[in-house]
């Protein structure tokens, strides 16, 4: 009897795992490959002006990442209590800060390449991890894992994990701590992020 129950549970477990592993792994990996390739060809190795390259980066960033989804996760429980205006303001400023930060850092990938190492399943629905490494000079290769979500047949990046450090988790921890300390709560965070974006 116990064996029978164990079998039923195992079957249910396997079924639920399969139900979550419905993302097309090859298509997800190809999406990340194409995105990184586009970045290398059209931005890093391009001879265009810095302003033009920044504009291209912003376009690629907005099309490849689901910033609204990431922003919701990053705010955590504060998202639930935020007003519609606060949500809109936060997503907008969070997008601007990320574009500003990453467009500067993107050139550091010059001469480097991503070597893709297959995918790993995620416990979240419609999501999958695409694994890659970046060979480094004078150091061990850096691990870069892309968390990809499939939405209506289209892929979007929802997190990037560099050397085991998730950018989404780091931002969530940082913003949660800030909101907890700030007398102005979420409005204080938005105001501080606006200052960061305005800084040269």
């Amino acid at each position: 009897m116990n064996k029978y129950i164990a079998f039923i549970f195992s079957a249910l477990f396997l079924f639920s795992q399969n139900a979550k592993a419905e993302v097309d792994a090859t298509a997800a990996e190809n999406f990340v490959k194409e995105t990184t390739q586009k970045g290398i060809v059209e931005i890093i190795n391009s001879n265009a002006s810095q302003a033009e390259r920044n504009a291209r980066f912003e376009k690629l960033f907005n099309s490849a990442l689901d910033l609204k989804f990431i922003g919701q996760f990053v705010l955590g429980r504060n998202w639930k209590t935020a007003s519609a205006e606060q949500r809109e303001k936060f997503i907008d400023i969070y997008r601007k800060l990320n574009v500003k930060t990453w467009s500067k850092r993107f050139d550091e990938f010059k001469g480097k390449e991503f070597i893709f190492k297959g995918t790993s399943p995620s416990s979240s629905a419609n999501q999958i991890f695409v694994n890659s490494i970046v060979p480094m000079e004078n150091a061990q290769p850096a691990s870069v894992v892309w968390r990809v979500k499939e939405i209506d047949g289209k892929f979007k990046i929802v997190d990037i994990i560099i050397e085991n450090v998730s950018l989404a988790i780091t931002a969530r921890n940082e913003y949660t701590a800030f909101i907890k300390k700030s007398p102005d709560g979420l409005n204080g965070l938005i105001a501080d992020l606006e200052k960061k974006v305005a800084q040269e």
């Binding site: 061990q140 968390r147 997190d159 085991n164 913003y175």
Partner: protein
């Protein structure tokens, strides 16, 4: 000896939890934030300017050679730890790397061994303790040295004893003053130079740099905590990220 060290670390470590998700105890967070601010002030007025100066007077190629030579001094500790982790092949590989790079690689400035297939497989006493399931303990900011957990700090000290540059200091106090302090200084400056741009960028985009540094440090350590036999094999960043949560 190993058992005593493991027991010692275990006593000073709290029960291991998914640390990047948990809050510090309030007194510990107050201490950590104050010490973090102190370290950042020292960094701003001492370490960062010195690291910038070091960058100004050296080329990338020279810095790569220095990094390589410093890494080579850590190879004996790597070899010992592979042995403690019951990895005799890796132990022999590390010994081979140290002998080849110290001689043919001109004091470790050139990684000749990698070209011969003996690629670097870094490890340390922290990883050894993790494999023996010693808990990591709470996050603590150490004055002047930076971010640690008790297990990480124990690993840092233990690996230091295995570094041949410091061996001379055991018998000769003059050596201690001249060579080992000099080496420690070069190591610290070289390490700071390598993170100049990254730390600058993180500081510019962060609204609470302590929280950012703490979170990144603890997430990075999760791969070590996953080495213990009973730990979950799922990666630590596979958090629940479903839209329905919002």
């Amino acid at each position: 000896m190993l058992k005593r060290l493991i027991a010692c670390v275990a006593v000073f470590s709290s029960v291991s939890l998914p640390a990047f998700a948990q809050e510090d105890d309030s007194w510990l967070e107050t201490y950590n934030r104050n010490m973090f601010d102190f370290n950042m002030t020292v960094d701003k007025y001492v370490m960062k300017p010195v690291a910038k100066g070091y960058r100004a007077v050296t080329t990338q190629s020279v810095r790569n050679r220095i990094t390589s030579a410093i890494d080579n001094t850590e190879e004996p500790a790597t070899a010992i730890n592979h042995l403690l982790q019951l990895q005799p092949k890796k132990n022999i590989k590390s010994i081979g790397r140290f002998l080849i790079n110290t001689t043919l690689g001109l004091g470790g400035m050139f990684d000749v061994a990698s070209g011969w297939g003996l690629t670097k497989e870094p490890t340390g006493f922290d990883e050894t303790l993790a494999k023996y399931c010693v808990p990591d303990g709470p996050f603590v900011v150490v004055p002047l040295l930076g971010l640690y957990t008790p297990r990480d700090f124990t690993g840092y000290i233990a690996d230091g004893f295995a570094n041949p540059v410091y061996w001379g200091a055991i018998n000769d106090k003059n050596y201690s003053a001249k060579i080992s302090y000099g080496f420690a200084a070069v190591k610290a400056i070289n390490s700071r130079e390598r993170s100049l741009d990254l730390i600058d960028d993180l500081q510019k985009s962060s609204v609470d740099f302590y929280s950012t540094a703490r979170s990144a440090y603890l997430q990075n350590r999760q791969k070590l905590n996953g080495l213990c036999g009973s730990a979950s094999s799922a990666p630590s960043y596979d958090f629940d990220f479903d839209e329905e949560d919002y």
